[in-house]
Symmetry: C3
Subunit: 293 residues, 3 copies
Amino acid sequence: MSTTDTSSTGRRGSDAWSRTHFSVDRRSPGYCRVTFDHPPINTITATTVAELAELVGLIEQDPDLNVVVFDSANPDFYLAHYDTEHDPARTAALGVGPTGMHAWLDLLVRLSRARVVSIAAIRGRARAAGSEFVLACDLRFASRENTVLGHFEVGTGVVPGGGPMARLARLVGRGRALEILLVADDLDGPRAEQYGYVNRLIADDRLDDEVDAIASRLARFDHHAIARTKSYVDQVTLPADTEFPPALSDFFEMLGRPRQQEQFARLEALGLNTDSDLERSLGARVIESIPDA
Amino acid sequence: MSTTDTSSTGRRGSDAWSRTHFSVDRRSPGYCRVTFDHPPINTITATTVAELAELVGLIEQDPDLNVVVFDSANPDFYLAHYDTEHDPARTAALGVGPTGMHAWLDLLVRLSRARVVSIAAIRGRARAAGSEFVLACDLRFASRENTVLGHFEVGTGVVPGGGPMARLARLVGRGRALEILLVADDLDGPRAEQYGYVNRLIADDRLDDEVDAIASRLARFDHHAIARTKSYVDQVTLPADTEFPPALSDFFEMLGRPRQQEQFARLEALGLNTDSDLERSLGARVIESIPDA
Amino acid sequence: MSTTDTSSTGRRGSDAWSRTHFSVDRRSPGYCRVTFDHPPINTITATTVAELAELVGLIEQDPDLNVVVFDSANPDFYLAHYDTEHDPARTAALGVGPTGMHAWLDLLVRLSRARVVSIAAIRGRARAAGSEFVLACDLRFASRENTVLGHFEVGTGVVPGGGPMARLARLVGRGRALEILLVADDLDGPRAEQYGYVNRLIADDRLDDEVDAIASRLARFDHHAIARTKSYVDQVTLPADTEFPPALSDFFEMLGRPRQQEQFARLEALGLNTDSDLERSLGARVIESIPDA
């Protein structure tokens, strides 16, 4: 299966939906597959956010679409985490989306409420904003052998900004959410499944096919039955919009403190945002960014 | 252990509580066992609903009763699902119960609030309304080798009507609830246990005895301690009454659409409501009811 | 590792925080370890409550502290349960704490909201009030081979008084919470982990070191990042204060009934509050306190 295939079996070419940080394969009118492809490690940048926001807009307006699968062209990194590219102004300039929230929160909230089933097919690392993205998807299937999830933010002295306190706490319960967020270490696939962070694990060499089978099934179902059933679950499980902005504010404010800037500079010196050993073991190694007391 | 034994060790004969779709064995003043027995596959019909509504009324008024176990005389089917018997008017004619809700919702809500512990001892298939029944019970113990749970409704183009969006989402979390309801496939025992859909699995040849031991223990406990402790858990975990009726309305409305009538006609032609291969693999085979695009 | 070591690596001697029912080892400015040591079985008495209330006050006021680990000097009993010492007036005389709630509820609520991470490192038995204590901690790590958790209260004819209906129901879901509270039997480590009652199990011979590694990591993190992230999780997961007092009232009232006094007298004759076989198997043997019908 080629993730860069631009031919489409649907009524619309994939080209129309592909962007620089992901390609889109419209496999049928009801089903499209989005493949993150932003070398070297699929960081999320202001560009990714802008492109995902556009994609969510297209998803919302498509009356035929039942299911969107998000996977990665890089088997080691699903979505590494956010990278400001030394230019926080670009992130600030993203502005707010239709919900009135910052573009990142806005696209996550809209994806979680869209009248389609969003599926994260997770292979590799998804930390911080990468984890926030998969938490905003409806279903999470993960490679048994090759999954790393986590929130290292507290280790860098900031609060996670994109909503994991709201989403994880409801998904895995208070104790496990506090562990994930405060201890701020990586979880492998088996622990993520045990905690309920993902729906379930699938053997790595079966992951693509099994998720494809699930998506192909969903693509044939009645659009309204999916949308209305999901909306009833939304009513019981989605956080109120008002829960999200305060933590993002805190994140930006805390990130601007000199001590946190120094921690990030140290992480960059160690290989942050590159395909480095640091990035492969970021949960354990984030502690290296903290100056000795 | 005979499930058709009509002698009782309690103060009241079982005959008084037995009906055509289930028998009741009052094992002690504090403990009765209800055995579904509606051949060939324990479908739930308007008759079952009316009889269960009466039973719940008796349960509510019995000051001695601490625990009710619901099991099945058919090892392959616990409660298959609802069957309108080609006469939706009979279901409509059931009217509303004391809560003001449709008889089916009413009896489930009243069972979940009753001052007794209700236990589903699950062996065989419990899908759609069958799953809604076990979700309304307080405890769910299931055969390790022989359990099938699921909601195939979305595969037939309708929303589940009896409350699983409200109950499952709170029990297993958003991601797993969306998977169960939208992918609409069967879950076997191990997955049901992993997701928290059931309390836990018990080896099939131990299920009856272990549940009997639990019920016998509960039968000796103080009635008020059980009732009051349960009521505190109810306050934190039960959906508001107002959550249920809209989805049932949607269910009836969507079921009446020509396309859905055709899907059900196709399923009937394939063996729905009979002891057929279709019924044994309904989660996988529901897709056969969908006309090719 | 000595739990009675009174030297401290922090800025303050451990002596200042140690009390008669527990010792405190301030391992660093950010990290202290509290070891329950109230022979023979770590029952919780009015003295324990008063001492823990003082400790929580010190924790709240310490600007350097990030993490408190609670473990036990007795490998068989973490915290057995409450013991009124035949003098309920002493418990009543504890009065209310700063939240306006009874001292026991007050200290649990304040611990759960404190700006530090509280960790229960569980080895041995923690039942009833002992379980209530670990449920009020933020994280629960338990010995794989040597953990017993449970609420036997309903077996003695009373409702659990210290909040498990509120906390357990949110942590493990309705079905499993009802089973734990109403069936009132012991859970071993594997079942506690499966149900989400604890975060996860750790091999007994690794428990102290692994929890120490987690706490040492947390001790180096930014205090405000921990406190603020926790406060966001608190908003989503902590019960309202108003949920707690009614159940404690019920507990006191039901405990005073002659039948319950007889049950407790019977349990005492069988070895309650001593290092007895009864205490080791209290979940199973609580039924012996019930007179034959």
